[in-house]
């Protein structure tokens, strides 16, 4: 719900310098590992900085470089990035050791994802062992919900709504899009990016932790994911109101509670999100046949 969830990226380009985790040192490390003459090209253009990254190129953001390396429509590239980010998240918080739970969440999530415009992505869902209340997604179809949030749910339709929000971020490529909007694209990053492409480069760029998961998406991306999450759950035959019910529940958690610190930092306040949904829905779903809540089938954690 992550932010709820999310692999959040930059909401505001003006914040880029302060928010981006990767600095030039990361880029330098990547470049050192590339066979070939990328660095030499730089130094050729600016002899005074020979042997180092051109200081006038400090605007070459490494993430932007990576994005420049991606083919816009390559699902493989997208999954590769998502895999790296997700591997890091699982390093911070492993999967809950409960195969039945993980299987169940994949059943619900895969069914909801089938209602989206990207039904054929290699969708993977996991419950991670954290008391925090949050959910995350990464490019390419990776979706995670914390045990803390899962414990707040009462029915399969609520789970479907939460997963639907995360699925929406992936479908709309919210994380990738914001990176592509970077002002640094076009400053040579595109060409350079092709040189640094590869698993090692991605690992170096994203590999310094799962901090990327704590970045904030544009609030409009969050509102859009809420609207889409409701609709995806409804398309799947669930009660459409699972997601707003969860938002209400989270809104009742004391704002100072540490379990919601990251969620509240990266998302608009739950009642603002609830109000935005209220405005967006209006009477539009009045004629929708009632969906199923499936509280009985909901897999309950001990």
């Amino acid at each position: 719900m992550k932010k709820l969830i999310l692999v959040a990226l930059l909401a505001n380009l003006s914040l880029a310098h302060s928010v981006y985790a990767f600095d030039l040192n990361d880029l330098g490390n990547v470049l050192k590992q590339i066979p070939g003459n990328v660095t030499n090209q730089n130094s050729a253009s600016t002899p005074e900085t020979s042997g180092t990254i051109n200081k006038s190129n400090t605007k070459l953001d490494p993430v932007a470089v990576l994005m420049g390396a991606l083919k816009p429509d390559s699902v493989d590239d997208e999954v590769q990035i998502g895999r790296q980010v997700s591997g890091n998240l699982l390093g911070a918080s492993p999967l809950v050791k409960d195969a039945k739970l993980q299987h169940y969440v994949n059943q619900v999530g895969r069914w909801v994802a089938l209602q989206s415009e990207r039904p054929d992505l290699p969708w993977q869902f996991g419950v991670i062992d954290s008391t925090d209340i949050n959910a995350f997604s990464a490019p390419g179809g990776f979706v995670f919900i914390t045990k803390g949030l899962y414990l707040k749910l009462h029915s399969e339709s609520e789970l479907a709504g939460v997963l639907g929000h995360e699925i929406a971020h992936v479908v709309r490529k919210h994380q990738l899009k914001i990176l592509r909007q970077s002002q640094f694209i076009g400053l040579g990053a595109d060409a350079l990016g092709r040189e640094v492409k590869g698993q090692d480069a991605i690992q170096n760029l994203i590999g310094s932790g799962a901090e990327i998961m704590s970045r904030k998406l544009d609030k409009n991306a969050e509102f859009e994911a809420d609207r889409m999450g409701m609709v995806l759950a409804a398309r799947a035959g669930y009660d459409a109101y699972g997601l707003p019910t969860v938002l209400e529940e989270i809104g009742h958690v004391a704002p100072g509670d540490s379990s919601v610190a990251l969620l509240f930092k990266t998302h608009p306040a739950p009642d603002v999100r609830f109000s935005m949904l209220s405005e967006a829905v209006g009477d539009r779903l009045d004629k929708l046949p009632p969906g199923k809540e499936l509280a009985n089938r909901f897999y309950r954690l001990k």
Binding site: R83, G87, N88, L90, G91, A92, S93, P94, L95, A99, Q102, H103, V105, N106, Q107, R110, W111, A113, L114, P119, W123, Q124, F125, S130, T131, G148, G207, G209, S214, N220, E224, R227, M228, M230, V231, A234, R235, G237, Y241, H252, A254, P255, G256, D257, S258, S259, A261, A269, D271, V272, F274, S275, S278, E279, A280, V281, D286, L288, P290, G291
Partner: protein, 170 residues
């Protein structure tokens, strides 16, 4: 024996009643009160944005409320409810204001020593967990398995359009 049963039943009644009795809410838009949880049902009155109400029960997209004078159903998305027992509207609003300013009441931070959260620092320090990724992949399902799961739950696909952005039209 009979007395004991009656008092037990009374207790249960009070307990179950208290769940709803403690919940109040505020209308976040002007609404028509309906006799039933359906917009096609008869109107039994109106409630204005900002009105405080008591929550009686909920049903799918609808919530039954009492204004003191009248009872009726409105869309659940039209009522912002406050938490049970602990939450009052005032503290909720204070909480939102604190979120907006980024200030938190230190006294409210729940001590969770020994319990694993997931802070920004945890995320920063994380190391790639290949084994976890491999485990995650073992749970990956195909479309056919998901469809079978949906059939078991008697979930029926619906055709629903995405909702427009309420701010976009302007």
């Amino acid at each position: 024996m009979i007395n004991r049963r009656i008092s037990f039943a009374l207790c249960m009644l009070l307990l179950s009643g208290s769940v709803f009795a403690a919940q109040s809410g505020v209308l976040i838009r002007n609404e028509t009160l309906h006799a039933k949880p359906a917009s096609s049902s008869a109107s039994v009155g109106n409630v204005a944005k900002g009105s405080g109400v008591n929550v009686i029960t909920k049903q799918s997209g609808w919530i039954q409320i009492s204004t003191g004078k009248t009872q009726g159903w409105v869309r659940m998305l039209s009522v912002r409810t406050t938490g049970t027992a602990s939450g009052s509207a005032v503290s909720d609003i204070a909480g939102v204001a604190q979120m907006a300013t980024g200030k938190r009441r230190p006294g409210q931070i729940v001590a969770t020593a020994g319990v694993r959260g997931l802070s920004e620092e945890d995320l920063k320090a994380a190391h790639f967990n290949e084994q976890g990724l491999n485990e995650l992949a073992t749970y990956k399902l195909g479309a056919a398995e998901a469809q079978s799961f949906a059939r078991q739950g008697k979930l029926v696909r619906q055709s629903v359009s995405y909702l427009p952005d309420p701010n976009a039209a302007n």
